[in-house]
Assembly symmetry: C2
Homo-oligomer: 478 residues x 2
């Protein structure tokens, strides 16, 4: 859409110029040194950077961007490098500079009275959980990568995870941001207000922009009272439609105390029993579908347990479930969650898996599962749909495992074909082709197909207004 940045003039010695800002030790150019910044988890994306630079302060970030903007040097901000769509990984051009926020890891302030926290972009999510609980409070953003992902990246990608149902996406947890703009100016939007109607809500643009509009250097986050009790149950249901009915019953009885409602198909449980060490089927017999339900109470274990018990009984009487196993204790609850979290991993042992991260209006989830599964099976006989995820958010990780005994490579060659089938149905159901992982480079072309011209045009206008030289993560999102 926009001109690639002009190559920097020959007279710029980039490493030297960067070293002048952050010091020699923080400018990495050696192949070995830069490797960890150039590959991501799934190894779908890798590239070669001009350099990796590791600033320690917003002022250093500002100086780096001012330099890059003046010389048209493309900058790719990177947090914990756990993104799944390639946004944070440099391309093959050898011209992109990876700007790692990993050294900006100060927890600037914890305000227990106001239930807010100010952290720098490089703080690891789990460290924020720890800081919150030290203050007797709770930060609800929770996802698989929480041991290594960094809050700046969580915000830049509007991360989702399992806490969304009760607490919202990362977007809902951010009160304010500090951002370095493409031209090196610093925007101090580190507010901690619940209500502020003074003009456009600028932070919303940077949240979820995947590093294309500015570099987030710090954030003010909302904290919440820590739940005093949790109750988890493993529930068997006939179908996704029945799971949806059950979801509605639970959200009516537990309200925002319903902190988890995950859908899982039988085949996913079988994969888990086969490949996840120590996994045991919580129920005596096999059932077609399962819901993992978690209720939290601000008051006590007893309350959480009694709401769970009462709701399960009512649902059983109403014949909305087939069987249920409430966790007897914390360790069993942890086991239930471990099965859910293992679902993605165990599929590796069943050969190739073609993945989708989609969402539809909650009420349309059963239709999505039925239609997309049938359509893909028709195209690829024997393919094994393994859709699972956050039913309460309408967000399904819609994975397809290869037919048993099929050629893995051959199957994976059909990735785009399968995507096309699933995304067409998702779009028809007014859904999203990227519910929580973002666009990055993986879905950039797709974006133009699913968004209308007007929306793409508005996004481009914003990009041009914020980054006229297109130095920030060029080729990502737009």
């Amino acid at each position: 859409m926009q001109p690639k940045p002009e190559p920097e003039p020959g007279n710029l010695d980039l490493p030297a110029a960067l070293s002048a800002i952050v010091g020699d030790a923080q400018v990495l150019t050696g192949e070995k040194e830069v490797l960890p910044y150039c590959r991501e988890l799934r190894d779908l994306w890798h590239g070669t950077p001009a350099a990796v630079v590791r600033p320690a302060s917003r002022e250093e970030v500002a100086a780096i961007l001012a330099l890059a903007n003046a010389h048209g040097v493309p900058i790719v901000p990177q947090g914990g490098n756990t993104g799944l769509v390639g946004a944070q990984v440099p391309d093959e051009s050898g011209r992109e500079v990876v700007l790692s926020l990993e050294r900006m890891k100060a927890i600037r302030d914890v305000d227990a009275e106001g239930a807010t926290l100010v952290v720098e972009a490089g703080v690891i999510l789990e460290e924020i959980h720890a800081a919150a609980s030290e203050a007797g409070l709770f930060f609800p953003l929770s996802l698989g990568a929480q041991g290594s992902c960094r809050i700046g990246g969580n915000i830049a990608t509007n991360a989702g995870g399992t806490g969304v149902l009760a607490y919202g996406n990362t977007r809902e947890l951010v009160l304010g941001l500090e951002v370095v703009l493409a031209d090196g100016r610093i925007w101090n939007g580190l507010r901690r207000l619940r209500k502020d109607n003074t003009g456009y809500d600028l932070k919303q643009l940077f949240i979820g922009s995947e590093g294309t509009l500015g570099v987030i250097t710090a954030a003010a986050l909302r904290l919440f009272p820590a739940p005093k009790g949790r109750s988890v149950a493993f529930v068997a249901v006939e179908s996704p439609a029945e799971a949806l009915t059950l979801f509605r019953r639970f959200s009516a009885s537990a309200g925002s105390g319903l902190t988890g409602f995950e859908l899982m198909p039988r085949i996913g449980i079988e994969f888990t029993l086969k490949h996840l060490e120590g996994a045991r089927d919580p129920l005596a017999e096999p059932y077609p579908w399962y819901a993992l339900v978690e209720i939290s109470s601000g008051r006590s274990e007893e309350e959480a347990a009694s709401i769970m018990q009462a709701t399960l009984e009512a649902a059983f009487e109403a014949e909305e479930l087939l069987d249920a196993a409430p966790a007897a204790n914390l360790s069993q609850a942890a086991d239930f969650w471990r099965m859910r979290h293992g679902l993605s991993e165990v599929q590796r042992h069943e050969g190739g898996s073609i993945k989708h991260d989609v969402s539809v209006p909650v009420a349309r989830v059963p239709e999505l599962l039925e239609r997309a599964s049938a359509a893909v099976i028709e195209r690829i006989p024997g393919v094994r749909p393994v859709p699972f995820g956050h039913l309460g958010d309408g967000n399904i990780h819609f994975n397809f495992s290869q037919p048993e005994g099929a050629e893995k490579a051959e199957f994976l060659d059909r990735w785009d074909q399968v995507n096309e089938i699933v995304h067409a149905i998702v779009t028809e159901l007014s859904g999203s082709i990227s519910a929580e992982h973002g666009i990055g480079r993986l879905k950039r072309e797709l974006l133009k197909e699913v968004k209308d011209e007007v929306e793409i045009d508005l996004m481009r206008k914003i990009k041009r207004a914020f980054d006229p030289n297109n130095i920030l993560s060029p080729g990502r999102v737009l």
Copy 2:
């Protein structure tokens, strides 16, 4: 900041051109006809429009904006005309066209299963409450003007109200928008997804932009399970600091079941007892400060009552309150709320009142109240501070009633002076000078004083990108 639109060429017969789009009957130009659109509640703002145009569809809105954009005709969108900062009222130039959304009042769709609702911009807030409860659900946005304000205006101003504590501002209740852009193009962003990370979240820009970036014609809103029980109590405390301690106790015990926590000073109660018909002091003796506390339960009246009871007892033992009166029944609960809602109105009977709509981080509220009251009293001996409002959001309606027996006009002449004192302290406490009412024309100049250059510049860049000819609500916000 931007050039005022060029006057439309003499060759454009504006009323005729508008009539060609919406029909003669929907283009108002007579002085009497246009009057209701040219004054607002407090009568602080009034003007003379070139015309009032009342489209019935997004296509008509689109045609009007295309015309206006081509000829540089300034357009002022208006909903229920209940705004308090003058954004929706035409100026004195006689050139602005008021675009009233009042005829776009279709409830396009109620999805009880998905707990969403799609409404046109002209639907009155109370009608949305009704539609939600017909579906067995609940729409939490609640404010004094709900009988006449329209949802398009609520969204364009990111309205707050009493539901924010548990459910968030209007922003948090919007899933998607349909917007007509300055050039007449229609953006269909009417999504109903809880999770969607496909590019920039454009709706966030229109929410709270006060009609300066586009005309909202429809919205997809979130609905919630209807609370099954409520418990309300009128609690006496020693000070705002004690009220804050009490607030924390309640938010820990009730979590998101804490649906109301309003702070009121004794003088406000006295005004109410004097001027609000049928008002009675819920407590036997007078106390310096009061909190109106509301707890909602997704399960039962009993649960709400028992949480209220238990928390009040614990607070009493901890000496965090002086006295408390739980409402014995719904009508008493309504009486308690009526006193709170009457607070603004009753001040009229005490002479002039200089008002502020400010917020600070929740923990700083006591400091704000103490310092700002002292500073204004020092400047105007005898002035009577009547600060009240949403303590849990940090949002205080900080009003000052004139000294007894003072000259009303003389007192009101000091409005700016008092504003300056209060806003300086608010800014020092990292607060907001407009927590929920917005900027409009009233606080436009103020905005430049409280925002740094970088933020104002980003806002202007967005305005220019979305409305290059500056035809949308010129002179509002920026």
